[in-house]
Each structure stands twice: as C-alpha cells, then as structure tokens.
C-alpha cells in the first residue's frame, strides 16, 4: 500500500482533484469490502470526500496523513450504514441482483450468507478493533494502521490480536446460529 502514497500535486486548485484521483480507487476497494455494494460504496465515498472538501487545512497535509483520515472517515461511515439490519438485508439482495460477477451462480446464496456473517461480526467489534482487523487483512501495513487509527505503532499488534480473538468468537457464533 505504501507504494501508492506518492506525492500528489501541491497546487491549491488541483490538490482536491489529485487526492480524489490518488485515493478514491483504494478507498473504494476497502469500503466495498465492508458494504458489498457498489452504489452504497460510492455514496459513502461521496460523503467522505464532501467532508474532505470542508477541510482545506487537512488537504494541505502530506498524503499519508490525508489518506489515513480518509480511511478513518470512510470506514466510520460504512460501518454506520451496516449496523442497520434492515439495510443489511436489502444490501444482500441487491448484491445478488447487481453484482453477479462477484459470485458463482451455484454457490451464490451460501457465500452471500457467509459474507453477511462476516460483516455482522465486524460490526459487533469495538470500532478500533474492527477497523484494525479490516485494514490488516486488506493489506495495510502496521504504520498505515497506526496512522489511520491514531494509535502508537507499538499498539497495533495487541489491538490486532485482540480483534482477531473477538472476531473469531463472534463469527463462529454467527456461523452456528
């Protein structure tokens, strides 16, 4: 992930565009994992970048700081959405209709149920644990995780270990229900 954190354009006029171009694709991949729906992912990222537009001082910060902020805000918004059980149900069915390429016809229902179990288990974790877990298993480094969660680098390991323990317990419970 660190390789994409190249320096974006520094002119004021182009800065927002550069940040959007640089970070939208990777944020899309991350948030899509949480929501499993292209439209909801795009809506979440629209809200994220609208918030960024209201933060001119933040935009002028170095790229790694901005990307950490974007990850933090977009994940918060995404998990706020997923906490609603009603939305989760609608999302599952919409995913079946709009995202057929992500699933094989033969095992679509079973896999969708599994994915919903994963998302619900993530949503039950404390905020920092679930974000740490998702970021790590989406390929982010300990440095990036620490920056996103605003914690010391040395705290990432313990947070991750606790998150994986808690997730495993909750996930097995969902899977057996």
């Amino acid at each position: 992930m660190a390789t994409v954190l190249k320096v974006a354009s520094t002119t004021t006029v182009d800065r927002f565009d550069a940040l959007f171009t640089l970070f939208y694709p990777q944020l899309f991949g991350l948030v899509y994992r949480v929501l499993g729906d292209r439209m909801e992912t795009e809506d979440t990222l629209q809200e994220t970048f609208l918030k960024l537009a209201d933060e001119p001082q933040l935009q002028s910060r170095p790229d790694p700081e901005v990307s950490a902020w974007l990850r933090r805000v977009s994940l918060n918004l995404a998990f706020n959405r997923i906490r609603s059980e009603r939305r989760a149900s609608a999302r599952t069915e919409r995913a079946a209709r709009l995202e057929p390429s992500a699933l094989h016809e033969s095992d679509g229902v079973e896999r969708r149920e599994q994915q919903e179990d994963v998302r619900r288990a993530l949503a039950e974790l404390p905020q920092r644990q679930r974000e740490c877990l998702l970021l790590r298993h989406s390929g982010y480094s300990y440095v990036e995780i620490a920056a996103t969660l605003e914690i010391a680098l040395g705290s990432v390991g313990v947070l991750l270990g606790r998150a994986e323990r808690a997730f495993s317990v909750i996930y097995r419970r969902h899977a057996q229900a």
Binding site: F28, G29, Y32, S138, V156
Partner: protein, 383 residues
Amino acid sequence: MTINSVVCPDLGRWRAWLDNADGTARFDDHLASCPACQRAVADLRQDAATAGAAIASLPVHAVSKAEHDLARERLTWRLREPTAIRRSAPLRRSTTGLRVAAGSVAAAVLVSVIVAFTPEGRTAAAAFLAQFRSRQVVAIEVSPQSQEAIMRTFSSLNDLGAVQSPRGGMQAAPGQVTVADAGRLIGFPVQTPDPAVLPAGLDRTPRVQVIPAGQMRFTFDKAKAQRYLQSRGQPQVNLPDKFNGASLVVSTPAAAMLEYSSRDSHQSLIIGQAGEIVVDVQGQVTLDEMRDFLLGLPGLPKSATDQLRQIKSWTQTLPVPVPIDKVNWTSVNFQGRHQGLLLNDNSGLGSVAIWNDGGHMLAVAGSLKANDLKVVADSLAVR
C-alpha cells in the same frame, strides 16, 4: 510468564512477530523454549487465520475509470450546492439512471443559457424577452474534458456578477401526494404507466412527490467581471457598460416525480413530468452582444458551442449533454409520436428516456435495459 529469567513478549509483540512486523528474529529462541508462549502463538495464529479467511471471503471490486470519472463528476455537482444544503440533506440514492438523468437535466439548464444566444436569436433587443422554451430535446455529445470545461466556465458566472435562486431550486416538497394532486400542483394531468408493463417486483402504486418550481437569476456586474477577467489574464475580454445590471433568468417548472420501488427499496423506476424550462433576458443588452460575450468566455469548448450553433429550432430545443464516455444514446419516437432521447448507461445498470409531449417534459429512469425502459415510457397515459 517467565522462563530462563527472560520476560515473555506480550500478546501484541507476538502478533506483530507473526506478521514479521516487530524485530522478529529476536523472539525465535524464546519461543523454542517457552511452552506458554508456544500455546499463545498457536492461538494467535489460529485466530489470525480464521479472521483472514473470513475477510478474504468479502468480494473486492476494482473501480473502473468510467466509475471513477462519474463519481468525480457527481462530487463536483454536489460541491456546487450551498454548504448548508449539503450538510442538511444526506445523499439519497435511487438508481444509476436517475443519476444520469439528474445530471443531464441540471447541465441542460445551464447549457440552455448559451442556447439562448446562438446566432439565430439576433433579432430582438427588448427590455424583457422570453427567449427560450423547452419544446423538444436534442443530445449534445460532450467528452469528459468538455464537461469539465463547461462546468468550469459556468462556475465562473459567480465571478462575473451575482447568482440568485430566490425560490430555492430543486428542493423536494415534504411529504407525498396523490397522482391527482400532483397534476393540480404542476398544472396538467400526470401520466402513469400501464401496470402490466412494470417490471416484476415493483409496487404498482407509486410514491408521488412534487418538486416546486425554481428560478435562477444571473445579473452581470461590470466592475466585478472586469476584476475577475483581469485576474485570469483576460483583460481583452471586455464587458460593455450596458451589460451592467442585465440579467438572465432560468425558470424551472414544478415537477411531479413518481417512484415505483420494490418492497425492500433496492430497485426503483422514476417517472418525472414537468412543464417547460424557460430562459429569459432582462435589460438593455442585445442578443448578439450577449451571445458574443458568453460564447467568448475563456475555456468554453468549441466542440460544444459548435453543436449548439447547429440546432436550428434553438428557441424550442433543450440540449441534453450526453457524456459520451459513459452513455450510449439514440433518437427514438416515444408513445408513437414524440421524438426524444433514449440514453443507456454504459455500465448496464440504468437507462433514461427524455422527451416532450405537447409542451410537457417527460423522463423515465431506472435500472432497466433501454428497450424495457422504453416499453414503460411508451405506455404512459392519463388514466
């Protein structure tokens, strides 16, 4: 736990050790000789494997360039809304098709300002003239670069004078109304589709809302314009004195929106109906002068202005900008008699139909294939 007088690494260090993220080698010897740590690491490894496999089961989606560009364009439109409205009105998603339609209509209103000043309109110079009425539609193909240039140019209107929206623009009226009430509010009977041709799964009873009429007035301010043009290095673009105080007025009519949704709200079909968009000029400026000035604004793409100039019945034709990188379009007959546009989102997720029926603008948008959407559009009638 201790062994051989060495303090065991804590949970966090062992977890980082599993990821080779924390000076890993120095713990290897300890692990080999510490049963307690061996059990702890085994548990950590198993939990990490469980969590990793579970999260890996979540599908990934690489965003395409078209999706990226569309999202950027949509963000640009939202950023143009006043901050207070943006913050108080959370984004509401309907369909990709509706998004395309909304963007097209909004852009069309802006572009129609330019249409009002094409060469055919050079005859009048009265104090108040109704210059343009949207009696038919035509596609104007625009590239991504042209879209950006057009939006950038129109955004500079704020720097040439004052923009006012005294009636609040496109805010939806609160609450639902009946189809009959909607007809009374917009001034003509609302057409509804044949329930038999609606896609399976959609409720046959629509949710009906009315968007009130709006108006945008732009008034030139010579001093402000000159300051702006000079700051942009365009001192040669001269705004004559008589432009000072001259106004463009774009009036958007009240619109009825019928939304047919499925029970779980993940699919919907939107049918919009409205009267005409009207563009007027107020002041002592001739159309030639106004046209020359607006078409000479820095940055307006020649490809777009050339297409606008080629519209023969310009005073009655609403140009609909079609982003050629995202939307296919065809010119077709609706309801067997009205020429209009059928737009098909390249992503395959949505289509839009736009046409004019006796002075009334109609649009149908939804997550259907274009041919299926046209069947719904053709079935519209006053029932």
